[in-house]
Structure formats: C-alpha cells, structure tokens
C-alpha cells in the first residue's frame, strides 16, 4: 500500500540499506523473462490446435500417405496427453528442430534463419535511418514547443503513425518504380539472387524502398516520445539553472538529452523489436524474402510447422531485444529502480 511504498523508498535512500547490486538485478530480470519465454512457446505450440481440422492434417501435406501419418503420430506423440506433447515439442525446439516445412520439405530452422538475416537488413537499415532522425526532430520540436517547427514536426509524426505502411510501400513503388523508374519495385536482387551484398548498388537499391517504408512508423513514434520526454525535461527547474549559469544552447541540449534519453531508449528498443517482428506487410509488398514473407507464404500454403517456427523465432527475438534494452536502460539510467 501507499505507506509501504513510501517506506521502501525511504529505506532505499537511507544509509546501509538494501539497494540491490546490479548483477542481482540482471539475474532477476533474466529470470523474469524466462516464464514469458515459456508462455511464448505455449502459444506457438497451441497454434497447431487453433488451426481448423486435425492437427496431424495441418502438419502434413494433403498427399501424405498413411505411413506418414502414423510416423508423425509417433514422433509428435499425438496420442499422448497435451502436456507430454508440449514437452516433446519444446525439447525438440530447444535443440533447433522445428520440424519440416510442408511446402519445401526442408528443415524449418534453416529457412527461418536465412529469412531472419534478410529481415535484419531492412530492420537495421530502417533503424539507422529513423532513430537518429527521430531524436533530432523530436528535440527540435521540444525546443520550439507550441511554435511552428513543433507543430509541423508533431503533425508529421501523427501522419507517420497513421499511414498504413503497406499503402505507403505501394505509393513509393508507383512513384519511384512505375513513374520514375529509378528503383526496382520488388525482390531482393537482380535475378532472385540469394546472397545480399551491401557494397554493390545494383543490389543495395532493392533495399531502398523497403527501408524507407519501414522507417516511417518508428520515425513518427520515436519522434513523439522524444518530444514528450524532452519537453518534460526542459520544463524542469534545473534547465532554467543551466541557462541562468550562461550555458549555450548546445550544452543545454546535451544536458536535457542525457536526462530524456533513457526513456527514449526504451521506446527505441520496442520499435526495433516491432521492425524485426512486424515486417510481414512490407515484405509482402516488396517480395522481400524475409521472415514476414516466409510467414505469409506459410499462411497461404497452410504450412503450419513453418508458421510455428517463424513465429517462435520472431517472438523469442522480440523478448530478447526487450530484455537487452531493459538491461541497457538500467545501466545508463541510475534512476531506474532495480527493485
């Protein structure tokens, strides 16, 4: 209750008390992430049962023989109770065995891994483009709060958040590929080549439109939070003190940013997670062979093992990214409670 909270606060500050050491916090945080990771596997596992029809049917191609069905039944233990099935599935997943794709008949893990590396190209590109720009614009808006630069920036961020990025992708294709013809409309390389090289423009140009499309939403959201966090810091008394001491604008910005950044960092981490995990629409539009594209294909062909594997890998990387950002935030921000 209120008082207990208050007391806790006091005792954390008064001498000789229980402020937990950093390493303890790190371990605790990792332990807290573990049940979430387990929950994620449960949901991914449950997908087989969500799918209409017999789970065996959804794990096998339609032309599968009776022997295949029997084999699968034995391997997956479909005759066993659910917890046993789950444990079997998880134990196989932990050693990297996500089953075999119905469509390609290849191990799911390899496919997902390759797709993930392709997705990361777009995600990292978009992050590199959006994050610094968003922080710069958000800071600018916070400094001119209520005045034209702020209004324009705020409006732009709302637009960025509201634009359906699958539509933006199509508009960009129309403008740059159809009308101007300067950039390729889709694919990852000239003749469907699988190896992506960052040094060759001939290949790199395929990534330009997807990166632009993907960058817009995080740009808007991070700009917004930067603006809010900076405006908050700038309205505090110590900024007034800094100015009164005669610090230049640049130094004030540095001070304010250092205070606002941890908060923005959390948003950035989340957004990066979304970039990696939420790539399905852009990748579908640009036929970019990443994880989203893979999932879309899996859905269209009802390739449940593939869908399951991709979902599990994406969700687990999302959890890890969040965990990493959380720890990073604690490291840079002394105010974050290590409770």
């Amino acid at each position: 209750m209120y008082l207990a909270l208050l007391l806790r606060e006091t005792y954390r500050t008064s001498a000789g008390v229980v402020a937990n050491p950093m390493w303890l916090y790190v371990i605790r945080r990792i332990l807290l992430a573990a049940p979430i990771a387990i929950g994620v596997t449960v949901i991914c596992f449950a997908l087989i049962y969500l799918a209409p029809g017999d789970p065996i049917q959804s794990l096998l191609p339609p032309e599968a023989t009776q022997a295949d069905v029997a084999y699968l039944k034995q391997v997956y233990g479909f005759d066993k109770p659910l917890p046993v099935q789950y444990l079997k599935w998880v134990s196989r997943a932990t050693v990297g065995d996500f089953g075999t794709s119905i469509q390609t008949n290849r191990p799911v893990l390899g496919e997902v891994r390759r797709a993930l590396s392709h997705t990361l190209i777009i995600s990292i590109g978009a992050a590199l483009l959006a994050f610094p720009l968003a922080i710069a614009l958000g800071t600018l808006a916070a400094f001119y709060i209520g005045r034209p630069p702020d209004r324009i920036a705020t409006m732009a961020s709302v637009v960025g958040i509201s634009v359906p990025n699958y539509w933006l992708g199509i508009v960009l294709i129309i403008v740059f590929a159809v009308e101007l013809g300067v950039l390729p409309a889709s694919g990852m390389g000239p003749q469907g080549s699988d190896d992506f090289s960052l040094t060759q423009w001939a290949q790199l140009k395929y990534a330009v439109l997807p990166v632009l499309t993907t960058a817009l939403v995080p740009l808007g959201i991070i700009m917004r939070s930067t603006r809010a966090a900076m405006a908050d810091v700038l309205s505090q008394d110590f900024i007034q003190t800094l100015r009164a001491k005669g610090l230049g604008q640049g130094a004030v910005v540095r001070h304010a940013l250092r205070n606002a950044l941890p908060q923005v960092l959390a948003v950035m981490g989340l957004q990066f997670g979304y970039l990696v995990g939420g790539s399905i629409l852009t990748e579908t539009i640009f036929n970019w062979p990443g994880t989203g594209f893979l999932m879309n294909k899996a859905i269209l062909t009802r390739d449940i093992p593939m869908l399951q594997g991709a979902l599990l890998v994406l969700a687990l990387s999302f959890v890890s990214i969040n965990l990493a950002v959380d720890l990073l935030q604690t490291a840079v921000d002394p105010r974050v409670k290590r409770g």
Binding site: L3, L7, Y11, V17, N20
Partner: protein, 379 residues
C-alpha cells in the same frame, strides 16, 4: 473573539458545551474512549534474488496508550516515526501484527468484540492530503454522503445530514454542494474531508496531519473549526502532527513517538513546560522562537533517525542523545503505565530516579548550555 463584525454570516453560533452524557456512552467518563495495548506493525523488507523477506521495519512497535472521553490527544514525532501507520492501524486500514484495541470497553475484533464496521461507525479519520482524499469525479456532497449511503441510510436522510454538515463546516451547501474537488481551495477541501468524516456521526476522529498542508491562516481557521465541532458533536480527537505549536494549541494531552515507540506521554501543559525525555526537549527546542533572545544557534537535533530495520540497542534515541551513557545501550528504558489523564511518563532512564543513570531524576534541559559551549569551541 473580538473581531470586526463580518458580513452576515450563516455560521451557527458557538454551541453550549454538550454536557457529558452522550447516549452512546457506555462505560462512563472514567472509561477511556480508546485503549491501545501493545500494538505492533512490521513492514517486511524484501530483497535478494528471490525477493524474500530480509528484514522488518518496525513502524509501530508495541505501543500502549489511552484516549479519554472528550479530550484531544496530540501525537507528535519526526516523519517516519510511525504516526500515520498508527492512525491507519487504529482505523483497521492495515492489519496489525499484534496488540489490542478497545473502544469504549469493547475490544475490536474477536468473537465478542466490535466488528471493524461497527468500530468505523464510531471512529473516523481525516487524511492529510486533501487533494488525494477526495474523489475528483464526485461532487463534494456525494463524497460526504457516500459513507452514510454505504452504511444503509436513505437518500433523503443523507441529503439532509450532508447539507447540515456542509453548513457546519462553513460551506454553504447551495453554493458548494455540487462542486467538484478541483473547484475548491485546499482549506475548503479539508473542510469537506472533515464533513465527510463526521457524516457517520462518529464519537471519535483521528486527524492525521489534517492541517499540515494548509497555509498558516487557513490552518488557524480549520483548527478553530475543529474545536467548534468537537464541542458541538461531543467528539474525542486524536490529533497527529509534526507541528508542536499546533499541537500545543489544540491538544489536552500529548504523546511523543520516536522510531515506532512512545517515548513520552502526558498532559500538554506538563510536556511543554517540563519535558522529561531528551527527544521531546530537542523537538521543543527545534521550534522557531519569535524572540531573538530565545533563538538557539545549534540545531538541537542533528542527523537523521537511525535505520529502523536495525534500530539501536537499548534506548532507540541514544545515538542522537547528548546524555547517553553505557547503560542506555544495554537497557531499554520502560515507559510504564500511564492510563490516567494526569500521569506524565517518559521512557528515559533520566526520568527514573532509581535507574542508575548519572543524571537520573534531572530534566534533560539542564545540559543545553553545555552543549552550546561545546559547539562554539568546536567551530
């Protein structure tokens, strides 16, 4: 009393003091309204990898006292000494670790005792933060009416009580009744809080820092209002405050708390003029004096209270006490029984002539000049 005539006021006149003999009274005047025995509240401190309990904060550690009918008991102490925890314990808002509460002869809880609900009909509380203690989404008359309504009063009856109460606390019901808390000033909000506490027609009120957050002039108005209400409704008060001046003004008896324990209790007059505990003395000396000749140069009380998870052995105040001796670290001084109106007790070896303390039997104030000399030398 000699004030310029005000605008035509709708205020009720000072009522004649209600003769002792409330119909709700059970044990007669001699029986304490509230008897608290060995009340304890420990907050667990958690930490470590598994967030296990690694210690206790003894917020209220074995407190025994009585509140007599019709009196105002002032409770003073530094922040964190357990005053507010005590208030919440008495109201049953947080569970106690142990101890006994007896209301007018009836023990609270237990098979034959008062239920919490019955207790709360007789005992109400005014909270410190007038902002957070009113629901921002309810017009104030609904806030006041809420208590009687949940206790089952009819809408009509409640409406009448509410209007009467608002009038009594100095808020015209027709002007203020429909307002929301954000449309009132701090003092007005606190008046509403008082009206809300009185709505159940309690016999006793706990005022937890009820005027501390107000401006001095408003504080005075509210204090006078409280005195007026006390007489009018035949109330008994527990008045918790860190402001000794205010307590002196309103309290009949004073109880001083330090680190979850009672260190001194006695009639107001006696405490303020003949404090027996060095802590009380220091608190009194910390007050700002209006007369420059009376001003103290050094802070009578330095440093923060010690860590309440591991309080000092023996007397808890010894780490900040200028009279501390070896025996203070080994033996905890006892407060002793103090269950009548006139008794003045202090939990200090000096207050007990037979304790063996070098200054046993002396008042703590004697040493003050020496302490000042010391500080001059040191500087």
């Amino acid at each position: 009393m000699s004030r310029a005539p005000r605008r035509k006021s709708t205020a009720p006149e000072w009522p004649k003091p209600v003769p002792p003999g409330d119909t709700r009274d059970r044990g007669g005047q001699a029986q304490p309204m509230l008897l608290v025995e060995n009340l304890r509240k420990y907050f667990a401190i958690r930490g470590g990898l598994l967030n296990r309990k690694i210690g206790d904060v003894k917020a209220v550690d074995g407190i025994t006292f009585a509140v007599f009918k019709g009196e105002t008991l002032g409770i003073v102490g530094e922040s964190g000494c357990g005053k507010s925890t005590l208030a919440r314990l008495l109201m049953g808002l947080i569970p106690a670790e142990g101890g006994k509460i007896v209301f007018d002869g009836d023990p609270v809880g237990g098979p034959s005792g008062l239920t919490l609900r019955e207790l709360r009909r007789n005992l109400q509380m005014v909270f410190q933060d007038s902002d957070s203690s009113l629901n921002p989404r309810l017009p104030i008359e609904e806030s006041v009416a809420y208590g009687p309504r949940v206790q089952g009063a009819t809408r009509d009856a409640t409406k009448k009580t509410t209007q009467d109460l608002l009038q009594r606390v100095g808020l015209r019901p027709d002007l203020f009744g429909g307002r929301y808390p954000h449309e009132l000033s701090g003092g007005q909000k606190q008046r509403v809080n008082i009206a809300r506490a009185l709505a159940l027609n309690p016999r006793m009120l706990i005022l937890d820092e009820a005027v501390s957050a107000l401006d001095k002039s408003i504080e005075a108005q509210v204090l006078n209002l409280l005195r007026y209400l006390k007489r009018h409704f035949n109330l008994t008060y527990i008045f918790i405050s860190h402001d000794l001046n205010v307590v002196q003004y309103i309290a009949d008896r004073v109880m001083v708390m330090y680190l979850g324990e009672v260190v001194e209790i006695g009639p107001s007059e006696s405490i303020y003029h003949q404090a027996r505990h060095p802590y009380t003395r220091a608190l009194l000396d910390s007050r700002l004096a209006l007369d420059p000749a009376d001003r103290v140069e050094t802070a009578p009380l330095t440093g923060d209270p010690p860590n309440p998870i591991q309080p000092p052995s023996g007397c808890r105040f010894r780490t900040r006490c200028e009279f501390a001796e070896d025996m203070c670290a080994t033996t905890a001084p006892a407060l002793g029984e103090s269950l009548d109106r006139a008794s003045h007790r202090a939990a200090c070896h000096m207050a007990n002539p037979a304790s063996g303390h070098k200054r046993a039997g002396q008042l703590p104030s004697v040493a003050r000049p020496a302490a000042m000399m010391y500080s001059v030398e040191a500087s």
